[in-house]
Structure formats: structure tokens, C-alpha cells
Amino acid sequence: MIQELLFAYFAFAMILLSILVVTGRNPVHSVLWMLLLFFHIASLYLLLNAEFMAAIQVIVYAGGILVLFLFVVLLMNIREEVRINKFIGAGPTGFTFAAALLVVVILSIRSFVASPPGIYSIDVIKQQTHAKALGMILYTDYLYPFEVASLILLVAIVGAIVLAKRRLKS
């Protein structure tokens, strides 16, 4: 019962917050609503017994990505932003497309068939601790994708510097 109540609160708050993020007029407010949304998502992960993912969510998203967003938002002219129309001319088309996508996917959820459960039940994870169980899989079965992810991050660092630096005078 308490789980259902908690889920209901989180679902309601997350949907409300994401609507506020998307329709907010002031971008700074949008970033702050998004911060609150990320904390709610982290709490939802705790409800799903994924405490390592909750910590990663708070550290990487709330601590890293949103601070980056705040830096860039501060470059903007907020006064002009608040005055003009926030949607482009094709806004209703976007709304129609999103609503159609929602209906199609909700109709397709009913035909979802779960596969037979794996070996990592809650008791096994509790016995091993979550971070250790995750690390054992990540560094053995998924070692190659892990290295590729580090390469992606390296490319992102180099690319961000190349794109954002001033052109050198030659």
C-alpha cells in the first residue's frame, strides 16, 4: 500500500514537473524544475531497489549536466526570452505528433509479454550489495561496451573544446 502511494506521488509530481520544464517561459526556471525532477527520478530508482543508479542520477545529472545547462542559460537574454512567444509556428503539429505517439505506445503496452525472470532477485542483490553485483557484470560481460563508452566521453571532451573555443588568429 505504501509503495503504491509513494509511486502515485512520484508519478504525479514527475509528470507535473516535466510539463513545467517543457512549457516554462523563463529558461532558468525550467532548469530548476528539471533539478527537482531529477531528484524525484532518483527517489523512484530507490523504490525500484536500484540505489547505485539513484546515486549516479543525482551525481551525473543533477551535479554535472544541469550545472552545464545553467552556465549556458546565463549567456542568454532572459528579458527578451520572457517577452516573445515561446512556441514556434509548427507547435500544434508537434503537439499532435506527440499525442499520437502517446496513444500508439499506450495501446502497444498491453501486448507486452515478460520474459522468464533472471537470477538477480532482490535477495541475491541484497546479499551481494547492489554496486558489487552491477560491477561484476559491467567489468566482465560488458567490458568492451564500457571501453567504448570511455572513448565516447573522450570524443565529447575534444569535440566540446573544438566547437566552443574562439577561432585562432592566423
Binding site: 527520478i41 545529472y61 514556434i88 507547435g91
Partner: protein, 100 residues
């Protein structure tokens, strides 16, 4: 016990809100935030499936999604800064040099 379909419904609703924001907002930073919203919706789906199917591979996939989201945010915001430097605007409908 919360049924799995509730988590899937929550995930698709947040994803759709992200799609709507990406397609209809004028401000490029809000468009990037909509992309982050969509990635987070996918993560919720992956982690809830991982919990209900008792298999940690969904969480591994969510881990990689978070890594790619960090890279995407860095590159995207660098593009926004380059846009500010060249055009001094954050509105996507004022950037039309590449229109044929």
C-alpha cells in the same frame, strides 16, 4: 507491489512530453532539456524492467545511456555557445542559413 505497466505508462508519458517540447519550443536550450527528459524516461523504463525481470542488464544499459547523455549535453551546449557567438540568438527559427 506496483505493477510493471504503471512504470511503463509513467515512462511513456514523460517521453511524450519530451517529444512535444522538442518539436514545438523555440528556445534551443529547452529543446536540449527535452532530449534529456526523453533519455530519463527511457532510463525509468529500463530500470523498472530490470527490477521486475530480476536481471541487471537493464541497469547496465541505463548506465550507458547516462554516459551518452553526458557526452551529448557537452557537445550540444558547445554547439549552443558557437551559435551564440555567430548569431547571438537562442531561437531555432532564426537560424536558417542551411535552408536550400
Amino acid at each position: 507491489m506496483v505493477p510493471l505497466s504503471w512504470y511503463m505508462l509513467l515512462s511513456i508519458v514523460i517521453f511524450t512530453i519530451g517529444v512535444f517540447g522538442f518539436l514545438s519550443r523555440r528556445n534551443i536550450i529547452i529543446m536540449f532539456m527535452s532530449i534529456e527528459l526523453m533519455l530519463n524516461a527511457v532510463n525509468i523504463n529500463l530500470i523498472s524492467l530490470s527490477h521486475y525481470l530480476q536481471d541487471l542488464r537493464g541497469q547496465i544499459l541505463a548506465f550507458f545511456v547516462i554516459a551518452v547523455a553526458a557526452a551529448e549535453a557537452a557537445i550540444g551546449l558547445a554547439i549552443v555557445i558557437a551559435l551564440f557567438r555567430n548569431k547571438a540568438t537562442a531561437h531555432v527559427d532564426e537560424v536558417k542559413e542551411m535552408r536550400g
